[in-house]
């Protein structure tokens, strides 16, 4: 696939890459800006959301997933997919372990349980 004529066409213009580069830098600026706003829990949510968006740009354009066979897509995404298992399933433990996380235990459900008992 690297050598088909249509691939050459996709390689011809630098413009999409330059635009993506500008978008990444701009969004990075936004990301840094949110850090100073005192958004609390939302700051990291926005920042990592932006990081994911930037990653998508890099993967699709710079790393040429665009137009690639679906097999490559599967493997490109599967790393993140598998990490969801690690993050998500570990949280089944950390979110309601007796003493973890020390300050942020799943408070709402505990409150609920407490009110039910009273």
């Amino acid at each position: 696939m690297t050598m088909g004529p249509e691939v050459d066409a996709r390689r011809a213009s630098a413009l999409p890459f330059v635009i993506a580069w500008i978008v990444i830098l701009l969004t990075a600026g936004i990301s840094a800006w949110t850090a100073f706003l005192g958004l609390g829990i939302w700051a990291p949510v926005i920042q990592f959301g932006i990081a994911l968006f930037q990653t998508a740009l890099l993967f699709v354009l710079f790393m040429r997933l665009k137009g690639a066979p679906s097999l490559k897509w599967v493997f490109a995404v599967s790393g993140f997919f598998w990490l969801m298992f690690l993050y998500g399933l570990s949280m089944t433990d950390y979110s309601n372990r007796q003493s973890w996380p020390p300050a942020q235990a799943s408070t709402r459900s505990q409150l609920q349980v407490d009110q039910d008992h009273r």
Partner: protein
Amino acid sequence: MSTTTFEGVPTVGPSAAIEPSFLTSENTIGSWLFTRDHKRIALLFFASITFYFFVGGAAATLMRLNLATPEGLLQPAVYNRMFTMHGIIMVWFFLIPSIPTTFGNFFIPMMIGARDLAFPRVNLLSWYVFNLSGLVVLFSLVMGGADTGWTFYVPLSTVYANGYVLAAALAVFINGFSSIMTALNFVVTIHRMRAPGMTWMRLPLFVWAIYAVSVVMLTATPVLAMDTFLLAVERFIGIGLFDIQHGADAILWQHMFWFYSHPAVYIMILPSMGVASEIIPVFARRPIFGYAGMTIALMSIAILSFFVWAHHMFVAGISIYSGVFFSLMTFFVAVPSAIKVFNWTVSLHKGRISFDAPMLYALGFVLLFTLGGVTGLMLATLAVDVDLHGTYFVVAHFHYIMVGATVSAFFGALHYWWPKMTGRLYPEMWARSAAILMYVGFNLTFFPQFVLGYLGMPRRSYTYPPEWQSWNVLSSAGASILAIAYLLPLLYLGWSIFWGRKAGPNPWRATGLEWATPSPPPTHNFEETPVVSLGPYSYDPEDDTFIDQEGVSHAR
């Protein structure tokens, strides 16, 4: 030179001359050490893992000798280091690489009709990295060994253990690279290098199994690599992300460790399932029962294996709701395993069964795997696990899976493919005796440990109360039988290389592409890229005929 005929996969035209076999094509030491031939690399791996198998086995022998009496034979420190090194070496230096790096390396390209793996240099590098990590673990062993158990639980491993934990952890870390390289090669090869006509549903189940296992290796190993890396950092500099003094969580290590190490159990068992699925149809002379179900079961085991890891941690202080979730998932993963056992057994129905050595190993595999599996269910049951966790019951259970099943399958594969690898037949009676001896010795060694476990004998103990001695003596006696059964094949297989009968290309009258080449195969496997027109296992027990994967019928 080439034409594209099928699914964009090009074929290689006939070569001019018949090549010599891969064994004799070149004879210098350099031609072995710098080879890019997957078959030679497979044999290099075979030599390495055989060495580590006997190193790990020696440690096990010392342990069983020590446990024959409550007073013991070894110093406590020596015993602790022996079981740790036994675990580390057997898991990472024998079981995990065992079938993939040897039979996978040798036969995956041949079974899919390719001339080599996709990245032969990476394949060779994998062997060197494996041996590098082996040197590090041997260094740790020679200096006195680590004393943490193969699980390296923090904070014992980071702060309190005295042994060469850093070297052992680094060895595991480096070993991960080897696993990843091998797995990557298999995934890419199986996706990209199949011969024309070799569709996914025509792949032999061994290829499916190796594919499943490669995906698991590829996605689980990095987590262990990071985990051991952080452990090594903490051990080296004295502070790290598992440091309880700084508010870190001691159980985090276990989460990350088991995120790898539970799938690792499937890394060990999936290839053996593939081996059994190859051997049983050949010697039962009938198609495997439920081919599609078998492939689905393999892949669902591979995926589900990532959802069950915390069943090693039911008593570790995790959230009890998390425990309930992981227990449920563990019951789910048992379902595809149950399907496989059922299908293997039904695959014998109305067959024309001969009991050659590979078949004896394969049947032994199914039985030992079933017993390991049902005891695994007991451990998956939360309340029972509270009692059994950390006792000899667990030891017995995972040895049934990892040693009983996997090592049986390893020896089954070795006997099944030995004629192809060396071109020689081994003495059949010796091989059958070794298979039976192995089965008897294994059960005698590990069945008593189930009883000991329920009685409450904790694992990793160098001593025990005298009333448990009778079971321990039985177990030690079984271990000595097992040791003989493991050593026997070395002798008669070694003998057969020089004096065994010539095997011919297809001594078992099997259908796979690997049997369509001479034994031993030429360096480039196939003179001409084969074109596949049939699924595997087209055997007919009624008149004892079969059709190979290229569509050629063979009379009895």
